[in-house]
């Protein structure tokens, strides 16, 4: 058999260090068993440590706060704004934002039917979050479990899984969207299903690649020799190692899912009015770009800010969970810079 029958198994996922860069034991790989062995108390201490680390990084803190705000808005927003989001006022359409005389509800202006943009954004937050988060979680869960299973066992299970991934990847998700829209009903849950199915292969492939590579590692081999059942090996040894990577992919996907939802709305086959999501608001507002820019800029900004925050936090999380890099975060800002400079000097 030629070496290439390996079928991209080694493909490291986004952002992972290149294979050659890491000699035999990667610090992340060792973190798994180590963490497992740590006593419970240390666990708790590590958690408070994480908080402290987070607070020390201003940008990451800001990102975390933004996401918290989004989550709170999704939870409470619709309750707070009441029926403001649907109350039409055809006499006050397209009022510009940041004009105080209209009252706080119209601080972000009003839309083409005179509804408060602020209230609509708040309600849309819930729809968007309740589409994006479940879609990402479902595909993450299914894809990664399946991928680890396939990569751990290799053989026909792996081939079957990879070809299934190919099938899903080359399947037109637009058709799925139309089917769901007209055969079932255009609800958020159905959009979640479409997006989740379409994204499963991404996690499947990543998880499989990682776990196929781990499967041949010494500590996994040892566990197996001692008679640990495969499920337990995957849970205890493979999962902790693969998880940071999968989470990074998931944050990137969070953004992708929101954009896909928006594109579906553009094509008229996504969330349907009178329901409202950021994507739909951006898509509907596009016809007013030249006259009332705020109608698509604000929801667009909401998408951008949320995804950027998620990416920032994910990047921070990766560093924070990587024992080899964590020291970067635990230093005060000024010192960090000088350490880096010193490091470079030494290197030269």
């Amino acid at each position: 058999m030629s070496p290439m029958a390996h079928d991209r198994q080694g493909a490291p996922p986004a952002g992972e260090p290149a294979p050659e860069a890491i000699p035999e034991q990667s610090p992340a790989a060792d973190a798994g068993p180590e963490r497992e062995a740590a006593p419970r108390q240390a666990h708790g201490a590590a958690r408070t440590g994480m908080w402290r680390l987070l607070l020390r990084d201003r940008v990451a803190t800001l990102a975390a706060c933004t996401l918290l705000l989004v989550a709170l808005t999704a939870l409470l927003g619709p309750l707070l704004v009441g029926d403001l989001a649907t109350k039409q006022n055809l006499d006050a359409v397209n009022t510009a934002p940041f004009q105080s005389d209209e009252g706080w509800a119209y601080i972000l202006g009003s839309d083409s039917l005179g509804r408060s943009m602020l209230a609509r954004l708040a309600v849309a937050t819930r729809t968007t979050v309740s589409v994006a988060v479940p879609a990402v979680l479902v595909s993450l869960l299914i894809g990664s479990v399946w991928g680890m299973w396939a990569g751990y066992h290799r053989g026909w299970r792996e081939t079957l899984s990879m070809r299934t991934a190919d099938v899903i990847l080359s399947f037109p998700s637009l058709l799925l969207a139309v089917v769901v829209l007209y055969v079932f009903s255009p609800s958020a849950a159905n959009i979640v299903a479409i997006l989740a199915i379409a994204r499963i292969p991404i996690y499947l492939r990543t998880a499989r690649a990682e776990s196929a590579e781990l499967q041949s590692r010494l500590f996994v081999d040892a566990a197996r020799t001692f008679g640990t059942r495969s499920g337990a090996v995957i849970r205890r040894h493979v999962l902790p190692t693969v998880l940071p990577t999968l989470l990074t992919v998931a944050t990137a996907d969070f953004c992708f899912v929101m954009l896909s939802e928006s594109s579906l709305s553009f094509l008229g086959i996504g969330i349907q009015p009178p329901d409202i999501s950021w994507g739909l608001m951006t898509a509907q507002g596009r016809q007013y770009l030249q006259t009332s820019w705020w109608m698509s800029i604000f929801p667009g900004l909401a998408i951008v800010i949320t995804t950027v925050s998620a990416s920032v936090l994910a990047a921070w999380f990766r560093i924070a969970t990587d024992p080899a890099q964590r020291w970067r975060l635990s230093l005060p800002r000024r010192q960090r810079r000088s350490v880096r400079r010193a490091g470079q000097e030494v290197a030269r």
């Binding site: 649907t86 039409q88 008229g268 009015p273």
Partner: protein, 531 residues
Amino acid sequence: MSQPSQSRATRRNRMIGRFRVARRRTAVAALAAGFAVLVSSCTVANSDSLGGSGSGLRIVLPEEPPTLEPCESSLTSTGVVVRSNITQPLIERDPKSGDLSPLLSTGWKRTSDTRWTFTMREGVRFQDGTAFNARDAAYSIERAVNSDLGCNVDGYVFGEDPLDVEAVDERTLTVESKEPDPILPLRLSFVEIVPTSTGTAKKVRQPVGTGPYEIGRWDTGLKLRLDRNKRYWGKAPSYENVTYQWRAEGTVRAAMVTSDEADVALKLGPLDGAGDRGVNHPNNETTALRLTGEEPPLDDPRVRQAVNYALDKRGIVKSLFSGLGKPAGQLVPSGVLGHNPSIKPWPHDLKKARALVKAAKADGVPTGKQILMVGRHELFPRVSETAEVLQEQLTQAGLNIKLKMVDESAHLEYQLRPFVPDAGPVALLIQHGNQAGDAAFTVDQYMTSKGAQSVMGTKGFDKVIEEAGRKSGKQRQKAYEELLKQQNGDITQFAHIAHMRGVVALSPNVSYRPNSATNDELRLADIRPAG
């Protein structure tokens, strides 16, 4: 290169040896092949140049014509290119006055109750060089109306009964209908004439006709060019050639005119950004809610009246259609034979609407039952917002409305017989365009109890409609006026919204006045260079 990596690399080279070289070669070959495909395919979008824009006219449509088959020309996307440009009918209707004028037929006469006789124009040749005579006309009518092709013109313009068509001699054609039909010439103005060499087994994509332009080159997906027909029997049109392109987004179509990439852009919305290049025109379209009359609560006339009172037509036209339109009280706009100028739109009276709903409720009508309001994307500009406004206004009247936006195919299932089974009470958002200029085309479809798009009607009303259809002249006008009034009062199948107006963007280089038929048949001969 620094040493460690170098030594590692050389070691590996040695280890893998020949195998690796082979692999690399294959990969390079694959990449090269891929790139070659890429480069060679570049020619697709740049296949040939337009030539000087001085001699050509550039038009941008919302969608590519699926086919140029003349018997499908009642489909807007086909008709707008084909009708009166590539092929021509026997008789042409002036969209402004509604009068019929001779085209391939120079004169026509009603020779009996059911029979019409037409005289053919002499000296006309098809674009392929063959001479036109009555046989071609007879063949074209047979092909469009009586054949198994399933032509759209057939369903739109003609009823179920076949026509008896005969070419008496080279210049004389008789057409006989089963029932007396005073507007047969008008109906025939929708049949485009093709030579007898056109097949009946299959629809043709690129027809031959007698029109001022012939098909030059059609790069499917990209553009369509028509060239001036050198054999044209009439006055030569102003432009040597006409290029059609299509862009789905209204803003993009408008932008193409403002940035001088196109001379004419059709079917724009008021907010698409055409600016002072935009010209608005009546488009003979009327928007309305069509109400099913069999299911409660819509089976109660009071509820249907309440729907009419609850809609703020003036407000919708003002804020959603940017003032482009007129509140409507009937399905046919002025300019169409049968339009009743004395019908005023239902007044906007929320109190009355509420009272009617309340009264119905008191009589045991389940007014809280959910009514499905079905709208379709791209029915007209800002349709989904309009639907939301309608939903809101009906909700205020005390009704329970669920809005559902669907695509064209799903919308048609609600619009046409056989209707969606078990749909419950439905308020369907429709836009009806009467291209023909006679109320019969509206009424037969929308108001008879068996009409293809009608969900309500009575035997008695069917009879009234049938009688009106037999009349002609002033009597016809009067009969349809009465009938439209009766529909509003006795049946109330519709809650009318507005007679719409469309927007066309025109470059300063062209002179053209859009009319009510512009979106259905854009007569290229009417477009001239400005100045």
